[in-house]
C-alpha cells in the first residue's frame, strides 16, 4: 500500500515545506499538494517541495479543469517534470461547486462532469505525446465520475467506508490490471477515537458528504440527513459544527478515517484485499506538523 499525505491546506509555504520534509524523511511515499479552494497555487508549491525533498513522489491536485485550461495544466506538469524529473502525478476533478461559484465559475453538475472528462482526455494525450511519465488520476465520488475514471490512469475515491468502496468498484466493472485504485478521504490517524470529538475531521467529513451525489446518498440511506444539512448550509454559507451534527456521527464516519494505528492497519488490510493500492491521508491529518509526525509513526509500524 502506498501512503500519501495532503498538504498545502491553509499553511504558509514555509510550514508546508517543513511538513513535506518530515513526510519525506519518514518514508511517506507521496505528498499531494492540494489546490483551490485552498489559498496557495499548487504547482508553485510542488516546485518548492521538489527542491526540498529527495525521495517522495509529488502529486499535484486536486486540480479543477474548470479553473485552469487544459493547456496550462499540461504545461505546469511538463515544466515540473522537465525541471525536477519523473516525480510528479496529477489529480484532476471538477472541484467544489460552491467554492467555484464564488470565483465566477458556475456550471451545472452535468457540464462540470463533461468539462472534466474532456480535459482528462486532452491532458493525458498532451503529456503522453510529449513522452512524460506522469499518472493522471481522477478524483471521483459519484457514479458517473467513477465510471469515467477508467479513462484515467487511476482513481482516488473520496470516501472511506468499505461498503461504499465495494459499491464504487462495482460501478467500474472490469478494471484494467495497470489501473491505480486509491482512496483519498479526510483522515486523522493516531489519537482519534470518535469523529465527533475532533472538530476538524468532522467538518472535513461533512464537506465531502455535502458534495455527494443525491443518487448515491439515496442508495446508502442518508439522503434525508444530507438534504437537511444542505438546507442549513444555504443559510449559514459555511460548514460549521451544527451542520456536522445534523449529518450525524454514523454518516460522517463513512467518509473519513478517524482511528488509532492498530485499527488503521486492519483497515488497510481490508482495502488492500479489494485491490486498492494507495491511500492519501486527506485533511486534517496534514494540517498540523504533529499530524504528519503521527502518520510517519503509523507508517513505521506497518
Amino acid at each position: 500500500m502506498k501512503w500519501g499525505v495532503a498538504l498545502n491546506v491553509r499553511d504558509e509555504v514555509s510550514e508546508t515545506l517543513r511538513k513535506a520534509e518530515v513526510a519525506d524523511r519518514g518514508a511517506i511515499d507521496q505528498i499531494w499538494v492540494t489546490d483551490f479552494p485552498t489559498v496557495r497555487y499548487a504547482p508553485a508549491i510542488a516546485a518548492a517541495i521538489a527542491e526540498r525533498t529527495q525521495k517522495c513522489r509529488i502529486g499535484v491536485g486536486l486540480i479543477s479543469p474548470l479553473l485552469y485550461s487544459s493547456t496550462q495544466i499540461s504545461q505546469f506538469m511538463s515544466t515540473l517534470i522537465d525541471t525536477y524529473g519523473d516525480r510528479f502525478d496529477l489529480l484532476i476533478g471538477p472541484g467544489d461547486r460552491s467554492a467555484l461559484a464564488r470565483v465566477g465559475v458556475s456550471h451545472s453538475i452535468k457540464q462540470m462532469v463533461e468539462y472534466t472528462t474532456s480535459a482528462l482526455d486532452t491532458i493525458k494525450s498532451d503529456l503522453s505525446k510529449a513522452g512524460y511519465e506522469c499518472s493522471v488520476l481522477l478524483g471521483a465520488q459519484g457514479p458517473v465520475m467513477i465510471k469515467k475514471s477508467l479513462k484515467a490512469d487511476g482513481v482516488l475515491l473520496n470516501f472511506s467506508d468499505i461498503e461504499m468502496l465495494h459499491w464504487a468498484l462495482n460501478q467500474m466493472g472490469k478494471i484494467p490490471t495497470d489501473f491505480g485504485l486509491g482512496v483519498f478521504p479526510p483522515t486523522y490517524i493516531g489519537n482519534c477515537q470518535d469523529i465527533m470529538d475532533n472538530q476538524s475531521i468532522a467538518l472535513s467529513a461533512a464537506m465531502v458528504a455535502l458534495g455527494l451525489n443525491s443518487k448515491v446518498s439515496e442508495t446508502f440511506g442518508f439522503r434525508d440527513k444530507i438534504d437537511t444539512a444542505r438546507s442549513l448550509l444555504k443559510g449559514k454559507k459555511r460548514i460549521d459544527v451544527d451542520i456536522a451534527n445534523s449529518i450525524g456521527r454514523d454518516v460522517l464516519k463513512r467518509f473519513a478515517l478517524c482511528m488509532a494505528n492498530d485499527q488503521l492497519q486492519e483497515y488497510l488490510k481490508v482495502i488492500e484485499g479489494m485491490g486498492i493500492s494507495s491511500i492519501v491521508f486527506g485533511p486534517p491529518q496534514g494540517i498540523r506538523e504533529k499530524g504528519v509526525e503521527l502518520l510517519v509513526k503509523a507508517k513505521q509500524q506497518t
Partner: protein
C-alpha cells in the same frame, strides 16, 4: 552624470530549462537587479512554476513576471499565485501584469470592450484581496462573490504594468508600483513622460513609479550574428503599432517594406531590409561598450532599470558577464 540604475535579465517561458536555471543561479553573482519573466502564451514552461523556481534558485535578486495577461487567468488564481510567490520569494516577487496582446487574446476567443477599466479593476481587486478583504465584485472578465483569501496577515505585492497606449500609460502612472515599457527610443521618451505626468496628477512622486525598459538586446560581440539581430528587429517592426511608428524619424517606406515582407514571407526575408539605423532604433545591440552607452541613454530619459535579453544565442553567458562587468566598471569610475 548617469544616476545609479538597475540592469536586469529578461527570460521567457519559451527558453530551455537549462538556460533559465543558469540565469536564476547566476543572477546574484552577475549583479542583476531583477529577473523578468515574459510569458509566451501557451508555449514552453508554465510561467508561475518558472517564477517559483527562479525565486527558489536565487537569493537576492527581485523576480517579476513581465507580463502575465490578467485576461487569461481567473482573478482568484492571480491573487492566490501572488500570495504563493510572495512567500516563496520572501518578499522578492513582483507581479507584472497587463491586459494581453490583442492578437493573442483574439486567438483565444477573448474580446475585451474596455481594457483600461478591466486592468484597473483587476489591480484594485488584487490589492483588496491581499489586504485581507472579502470581495463582492464583477467586471467584463471576472466575478467574485464573498471571496477572500482567508489570510490573517495582509501582504503587499508590488504590481508593475506592461502597457503601451496613452490611456494605459496614464493608468500605470496613477496606480502602479512600476511600469514595463518596450519600444523605440523616441517612444520610450514619450511613454516615460506620460507616466510621470500621470503620477503627478494622481498626487504621487514620479519616483514612486519605477520605469523598466525591456527592448531586444543583442550582444553581437559574443557570437550572435548580426543577421540574427536583424531578424529580431524585423519581427519587432512587424509587431509595432502605427501609432508608435508615427512618432519616429525613420525611413517609413523601408519599414513598410519590412512589415509586408515579414507578413507575406518570413522574418528572415524581412531582415534583409533592416539597416544599421533601424537596428539601433529598435534594439540595443553591438559591442558591450555601445550597449552600455545605449543603456545610459535610456536612463537619461528617466528609466530606472534596463533589461538584458532575450534573444540568448552565441556565447550569451559570457556576453552577460562582460556587459554586467562593463556597467560595474563605469559605476566605479564615476
Amino acid at each position: 552624470m548617469i544616476s545609479s540604475y538597475k540592469v536586469s535579465v529578461g527570460i521567457t517561458t519559451h527558453m530551455r530549462v537549462s538556460a533559465t536555471n543558469w540565469i536564476a543561479q547566476n543572477a546574484d553573482a552577475l549583479g542583476a537587479g531583477s529577473i523578468w519573466i515574459g510569458e509566451d502564451i501557451a508555449l514552453g514552461q508554465e510561467s508561475f512554476v518558472l517564477t517559483a523556481r527562479t525565486l527558489l534558485q536565487s537569493h537576492q535578486v527581485r523576480v517579476g513576471t513581465g507580463i502575465i495577461p490578467v485576461s487569461v487567468h481567473n482573478i482568484s488564481t492571480l491573487a492566490r499565485t501572488g500570495v504563493t510567490l510572495n512567500e516563496i520569494g520572501q518578499g522578492r516577487f513582483t507581479f507584472g501584469l497587463g491586459i494581453g496582446g490583442i492578437q493573442d487574446l483574439e486567438k483565444q476567443g477573448i474580446h475585451i470592450k474596455k481594457p483600461v477599466t478591466e486592468l484597473r479593476k483587476s489591480v484594485n481587486t488584487l490589492r483588496m484581496l491581499w489586504a485581507g478583504e472579502t470581495i463582492d465584485t464583477s467586471s467584463e472578465m471576472f466575478s467574485l462573490r464573498g471571496f477572500s483569501l482567508e489570510k490573517d496577515n495582509p501582504i503587499r505585492v508590488p504590481i508593475f504594468l506592461g502597457v503601451r497606449g496613452p490611456q494605459m500609460l496614464k493608468l500605470a502612472g496613477n496606480m502602479a508600483d512600476g511600469v514595463i515599457l518596450s519600444g523605440p527610443f523616441d517612444y520610450l521618451q514619450y511613454a516615460i513622460r506620460a507616466v510621470d505626468e500621470a503620477a503627478k496628477e494622481a498626487g504621487r512622486n514620479k519616483r514612486d513609479v519605477e520605469k523598466v525598459v525591456w527592448v531586444p538586446t543583442i550582444p553581437t560581440f559574443k557570437g550572435i550574428k548580426e543577421k540574427v539581430a536583424r531578424r529580431v528587429v524585423a519581427l519587432v517592426i512587424a509587431d509595432t503599432p502605427d501609432a508608435v511608428l508615427d512618432m519616429l524619424t525613420i525611413d517609413r517606406e523601408r519599414v513598410d517594406r519590412i512589415r509586408k515582407t515579414v507578413s507575406s514571407s518570413s522574418p528572415k526575408e524581412g531582415a534583409k531590409f533592416v539597416d544599421d539605423k533601424l537596428l539601433d532604433v529598435f534594439s540595443i545591440s553591438g559591442t558591450k561598450e555601445h550597449m552600455v552607452d545605449r543603456f545610459e541613454d535610456v536612463i537619461g530619459i528617466g528609466a530606472t532599470e534596463v533589461v538584458l535579453g532575450p534573444p540568448f544565442s552565441g556565447d550569451w553567458r559570457q556576453a552577460l558577464v562582460e556587459i554586467f562587468h562593463e556597467v560595474e566598471s563605469r559605476r566605479e569610475t564615476t
